[in-house]
């Protein structure tokens, strides 16, 4: 977990206070000057009361141009960002026809499958589009299963290392629809404190009791498990039906791996089931891209359920669950996303099949192995250089996600806009995705980035970092020129 320096916390709190004060003043003036407009709801309750959307209206709106930037090309290593302007102080943003070519450090394109690829999209995806059409317009159980879906499910099971797999059209809906099918009232879900919103929603929708353990802390997990098993359900003191522990492979806001071997050991000791969400780690980490189990040396048979998405490393869309044959067969009967939702679009399925074959090396080339080595080298190089420059970078070695701490809310638009003016597209993250005082910029490295791209990015980030003042750590003496000469 990140702990911010004392002085930085004070200044961040002070800046929030000033912004809140101005926001309240504006609200007051709005009430006084436009009181007639506010009273014309004709007996309906307003959509948001009072301060429910205070943060959105008064703080987020000021920096709205840093988010939802439209692009006009594929989200590859370089892409075209559409320029926008605003005539009313960021309340509405209008598109223009002009675009700027920027280096993309924000998209989840870990292995570089985002753009048209000579093996994947042209010709295979287009061929499957012409054969199976855009959509099947039907749920998987009715008439929406095609040969491609069956092929992809077998391939995923083989890739991940589990007996069987089931496919869904959207990663978010996978978590929201599967967790209620596995556990219900009388069960206990213990989830990591920094889990993704889809897991939280799925857990809430299941009706089971939810407990949280400190992020990545296996001993706290053990404490929680011991207490819960010993005391049972609250009020009734009956023992729990079952306990599921939900963790993620890579936490996308911290960039660090979960402590998988320790957590699995604890779960096995106390007979709890494990659910591993590998949304960001499948295909991107591990020697052959098999995910965090391969990276940390854990046998896939020890994890009960492995979930993942096809959006990030495979350049497609959708999600999957891999587990034993019985669990998968049961899910095919009960999971609402399988029974009711339109099945995944066939061209997207074909894209996932082709990219998985490239990673496995079954396309006859070693492009997959090259991509995997490239992303590992890129991540490690970039992270070490940033740390040498004095930035506070989070995340583990080999992880392609690196958050750079900004802390202060005003540095978010400063960093974002300054980088964009230098043709570097960066993602900045504020509340509510991260805690209020821990704003950060997040970089996602791709195998499509070349060494020159990364060096250019480092130069820009260093310059902007000096301007904005986020080099919280001392700078090492190795400068960028030495790096350039050493890599030539």
């Amino acid at each position: 977990m990140v702990r911010s320096p004392y002085f930085t916390t004070l200044t961040t709190l002070l800046s929030y206070r000033i912004l809140f004060l101005f926001g309240h003043l504006r609200d007051l003036f709005e009430k006084l000057l436009d009181w007639s407009k506010l009273n014309n709801l004709q007996g309906y309750a307003p959509i948001c009361f009072g301060y429910e959307d205070f943060y959105t209206r008064r703080l987020h709106l000021r920096i709205q141009d840093c988010f939802e930037r439209p692009i006009a090309s594929a989200p590859d290593a370089w892409f075209d960002v559409v320029e926008r302007y605003s005539n009313d102080n960021n309340k509405t943003l209008c598109r223009t026809e002009k675009t700027t070519k920027c280096l993309n450090l924000g998209s989840y394109n870990y292995l570089g499958f985002a753009a048209a690829d000579e093996y994947c999209s042209t010709p295979r995806v287009i061929r499957s589009l012409k054969q199976y059409s855009v959509s099947t317009c039907s749920a998987r159980v009715d008439g929406g299963t095609t040969k491609l879906h069956v092929e992809l499910e077998d391939l995923i099971a083989r890739f991940v290392g589990k007996p069987a797999a089931i496919l869904f059209g959207m990663g978010y809906a996978t978590n929201s629809a599967i967790i209620p099918a596995l556990i219900g009232k009388g069960g206990l879900i213990i989830s990591d404190s920094l889990n993704h919103n889809s897991i939280v929603n799925g857990a809430r929708g299941s009706g089971a009791t939810i407990r949280v353990f400190q992020h990545n802390n296996a001993s706290h997990l053990e404490e929680v498990l011991r207490e819960q098993i010993a005391y049972g359900q609250p009020h009734m003191y009956r023992p729990w039906n079952k306990i599921i522990v939900i963790i993620e492979g890579i936490y996308s806001m911290e960039g660090e791996f979960c402590k998988l071997p320790e957590i699995i050991a604890v779960c096995k000791k106390y007979k709890a089931y494990t659910y591993l969400d590998e949304a960001h780690s499948i295909g991107a980490v591990g020697r052959t891209g098999r995910g965090v189990c391969e990276q940390l040396g854990v046998d896939t048979a020890d994890v009960d359920i492995m979930m993942g998405t096809l959006t990030k490393s495979f350049g497609s869309c959708g999600g999957y669950i891999a587990a034993s044959k019985e669990i998968i067969q049961y899910l095919k009967q009960t999971c609402p996303a399988h029974l009711y939702a339109t099945s995944m679009s066939p061209p997207a399925v074909q894209q996932a099949i082709s990219s998985m074959k490239v990673i496995l090396g079954e396309d006859g080339t070693n492009r997959g192995a090259k991509k995997l080595t490239q992303i590992r080298e890129n991540s490690n190089f970039f992270r070490s250089e940033l740390q040498k420059m004095g930035f506070e970078v989070l995340g583990d070695k080999d992880s392609p996600i690196m958050p750079i701490m900004l802390y202060n809310i005003a540095k978010i638009p400063a960093f974002s806009r300054e980088c964009l003016s230098q043709n570097l597209a960066i993602v900045t993250i504020a509340f509510p995705y991260t805690p209020l005082l821990l704003a950060r910029a997040r970089i996602c490295i791709s195998a499509a980035h070349t060494r020159e791209d990364l060096i250019k990015a480092l130069e820009v980030i260093s310059k902007v970092g000096d301007l904005v003042g986020i080099k919280y750590f001392p700078v090492e003496h190795l400068t960028l020129d030495k790096v350039k000469t050493s890599t030539k």
Binding site: P70, K130, S138, A139, A173, S176, M344
Partner: protein
């Protein structure tokens, strides 16, 4: 020694008896204070003292580590999923071609009534061409959520196109059909709000209602009298109508029964009781109305009166994803507080361009709607006398729903009967149909049945073939 003890005891006894028999020493308020009153006063003090003491409770000891270890060793969890039985090994038919009106299943050509391809857009040339262009330009996936460089210009174009087509100020795209409604409802309805919903809504709506943690009141399926009663009851009970948000949640065409909601009546009730409407138009967008604009067009209600319209695009528009439309306030609110929009990767760009092409097609060829209506009417007429099954859907609904005239007893046996009908129809007459599937998580209590999704691209011979096949098989199986 003994003598001294006896003396002491005797003197104490003397003192006590003299205290008892002592003559009146004092008179207080006309009551003479005798010696025995002192003893009685002492007794009262003792009783009061005892009453104020707490009753005995054995002290609470927390469990020791050893006891916790024992409990943990003894605890046995249930298996993660129940035992798989024979009938759970069902595998659906696998398509080997596009899901058009004719599809190839297991090498044979079948007439396909299991795809909600209402306008016949599966396999349409123009849509395929626009998708090929989008794939070559943008690749397949969008690699990011909308807030972080996942917004591609086709998304914005698609949103504007849909808003313009429907006549609303703005719209917002979601990346999956069912996640639209279960993200929209929790974005607007919070704890303490009141929702009145139809009891026949499908699972995604039920999940959205559950996640919103509001108070949900169900009214009888498509029954306006029941809706009015519930609205009356809820309005009477709520004390501050301006402080509580209230919504009516209905579907335009119900997936579980094929009924159509009477929108003009609902709008009249909504205005009377000051509720907002959330309308799910997944199966009516592109189907109902003279120009395919949905239920509002069909009922002659101005679209501004409906507060929130959501729809999945996996039906008439033959792509994937969903959208939500309404006033600018409604749409802007979702951009930051709808979890399925904010925390999920955006729709693949080729699907958005397919949606644009589909809406263009609908605008240019409104005759496809009348073809669809003719097909539904023909089919309805043909299926009006199937032995053992009765039509339960509305005559304009493209989902033609047949339920059993008489239930066989349990839901399971009904399900088996319908499955055997569907299986025989597929194997013997090459007609692919769908039965209602109910997940164990689904709380809907409406009867199950057979569903036919009629398309504008079905020919009359397809419809007649399907009807004849169903009549033959139903006569055999339901005897």
């Amino acid at each position: 020694m003994a003598l001294a003890m006896v003396n002491v005891t005797a003197s104490v006894l003397d003192w006590v008896s003299s205290a008892f028999d002592a003559p009146t020493r004092a008179v207080v308020f006309g009551v003479p204070i005798d010696g025995h009153l002192v003893v009685e006063a002492l007794l009262v003090v003792v009783i009061l003292f005892q009453l104020t003491r707490k009753s005995y409770k054995p002290p609470k000891k927390p469990l020791t580590e050893k006891e916790i270890d024992e409990l943990c060793d003894d605890w046995v969890p249930e298996p993660l999923t129940p035992q798989i039985t024979e009938d759970m090994m069902y595998e659906p038919p696998t398509l080997e071609s596009a899901a058009g009106p004719h599809a190839i299943v297991n090498g044979k050509e079948v007439v396909n009534f299991a795809s909600a391809n209402y306008l016949g857009l599966v396999g349409n040339e123009k849509i395929t061409d626009s998708c090929v262009g989008a794939l070559e330009k943008y690749g397949v996936g969008s690699c990011g959520p909308r807030g972080f460089y996942g917004t591609i210009d086709v998304h914005l174009d698609c949103e504007q196109k849909i808003a313009k087509f429907l006549g609303t100020p703005d719209s917002i795209l979601y990346s999956y059909g069912i996640s639209t409604i279960f993200s929209v409802i929790p974005a607007f309805c919070k704890k303490g709000d009141i929702i009145v919903a139809d009891e026949g809504v499908h699972w995604a709506v039920q999940n959205g209602l559950y996640l919103s943690r509001s108070t949900v009141v169900y009214f009888k399926h498509n029954d306006m009298k029941s809706l009015e009663n519930k609205l009356e009851e809820v309005t009477r009970r709520s004390k501050h109508p301006e402080k509580v948000r209230r919504y009516i949640v209905v579907e335009a065409i119900y997936q579980n029964s094929g009924q159509i909601a009477p929108l003009d009546e609902i709008v009249r009730l909504k205005e009377k009781y000051r509720f907002r409407i959330i309308l799910d138009e997944s199966h009516s967008f592109g189907v109902l109305g003279s120009s395919g604009r949905g239920l509002a067009d069909h009922c002659g209600v101005p679209v501004e009166k409906i507060d929130i319209i959501t729809a999945g695009m996996g039906n008439a528009l033959a792509t994937d994803g969903g959208f939500c439309t309404g006033s600018v306030r409604v749409v802007d609110h979702q951009r930051l507080s709808s979890s399925g929009y904010v925390f999920s990767a955006s729709l693949p760009p080729y699907l958005a361009s397919a949606a644009i092409a589909a809406v263009d097609y609908l605008e240019e060829n409104p005759s496809v709607l009348s073809k669809l209506r003719t097909n539904i009417a023909t089919f309805f007429y043909e299926l009006s006398d199937v032995p053992g099954l009765v039509l339960a859907s509305h005559i304009l609904s493209p989902i033609v729903f047949l339920k059993l005239k008489k239930s066989t007893g349990t839901g399971k046996t009904d399900m088996d009967l319908l499955d055997s009908i569907a299986k025989q129809v597929l194997e013997e007459d090459s007609v692919l149909i769908a039965t209602t599937k109910r997940s164990s998580l689904d709380k809907c209590k409406l009867p199950i049945g057979l569903r036919f999704f009629v398309s504008a691209s079905h020919s009359e011979s397809d419809l007649l073939k399907a009807a004849a096949s169903l009549k033959r098989v139903a006569a055999l199986v339901i005897s």
